[in-house]
Symmetry: C2
């Protein structure tokens, strides 16, 4: 028995909740189990970067044509540069029963969910709002103004938490990584993700009955 397809897993969460670190450690802890989605971007390539490794580097024209041809699962623009998730890359992986991880913000997450209703949406959060504030303050690298801006964004983002499937409580990094891994592996056994195997068992049992 095996699940029908790989999973599209979206990890979002508050700034300061450690989603990037969780993703990195998850990939390291389970080599071969997960694939990181590679985004397309219009921003210029930097020294040390490689096309198709950090990003698929695109011209503005190419990027706009990807949007027009529905080749992006989601996209967003920050500081004049556009970033998006190529649909073909994700589809190829899940059709080969490989799980794909995407680290994107809530608007992108909901766009992905619309395209792939079976996508798994995970929201990373510290154990409490106070802890989130303390972590931002504790870094000691941000001005009070920046911290307040970030908390205001978190406040807005928190309104969408209920649209996610699971919470990832990042109190302890190793535990949070285990939690993400266990959730994904458990979801593989959801009946709605095993329709082919179930149909096969049902068919086999019918054949036994007919042969009696």
């Amino acid at each position: 028995m095996t699940h029908d397809k790989g999973l599209v897993v979206v990890l979002s969460g508050f700034s300061g909740a450690g989603k990037g670190t969780i993703m990195k450690h998850l990939l390291e802890a389970h080599p071969g189990d997960y694939n990181l989605s590679i985004s397309a971007t219009t921003r210029g390539i930097r020294p040390g970067e490689e096309n198709g490794r950090e990003y698929f580097f695109k011209t503005r024209e190419e990027f706009d044509s990807m949007i027009a041809n529905n080749e992006l699962l989601e996209y967003a623009t920050f500081n004049g540069n556009s970033y998006g998730t190529p649909r073909a890359y994700v589809e190829e992986l899940i059709n080969n029963k490989k799980d794909v991880l995407l680290e994107i913000e809530i608007n992108g997450a909901l766009q992905v969910k619309e395209m792939f209703p079976d996508a798994l949406l995970l929201f990373t959060t510290p154990p409490s709002a106070l802890e989130l504030k303390n972590r931002l303050v504790g870094r000691g690298t941000e001005t009070e103004e920046v911290i307040n801006q970030r908390l205001a964004i978190s406040c807005k983002e928190s309104q969408g938490m209920g649209k996610y499937d699971y919470l990832i409580i990042n109190d302890n990094l190793d535990k949070a990584v285990d939690q993400v891994h266990n959730i994904i592996q458990s979801e593989h056994y959801r009946t709605s993700r095993n329709t082919i195997s179930i149909a096969q068992v049902q068919e086999e049992l019918k054949m036994f009955e007919r042969s009696n």
Copy 2:
């Protein structure tokens, strides 16, 4: 952060799929984590049994009055004896954030799901229908007629597999026990089971904003 309530977990599955064994090993492997639901029954108490340990022993009148008063989550009759799951016992446990395990057949499972839409329904199956047949034959204790009857029942039961939430593939006992444990623990983090914690984080973040 903690989930709102304990989980009602129903384990069903094909005869010969080992659900009883999984249940027993799960309880032993994680002492204190799970509680087995104790059924009410009209069958007579046997030597060595204790009221409230193996079963809650009831007269027919008492049992019928429990049905009439909606005090049973589900019930069924086998060989003239009735068996049912007392609602109060299950509700008390989940309100104290304790997970309750029920080992019942599909009709009972669907009755429970109607009463508790948040109940988690798990269906235990060997890796294939052929393996199921081989296990029944391999026991060497059943006549061909009994084996065929059991396979016919399995064939009928298999039609309901899609109504369950997860499949438990019992290929290896330890793995199946881990799988059940991981599914239950992962489900604790489902956003729909953490509405109180989410509302609290949202409220705290709003308070930070107001204080700026």
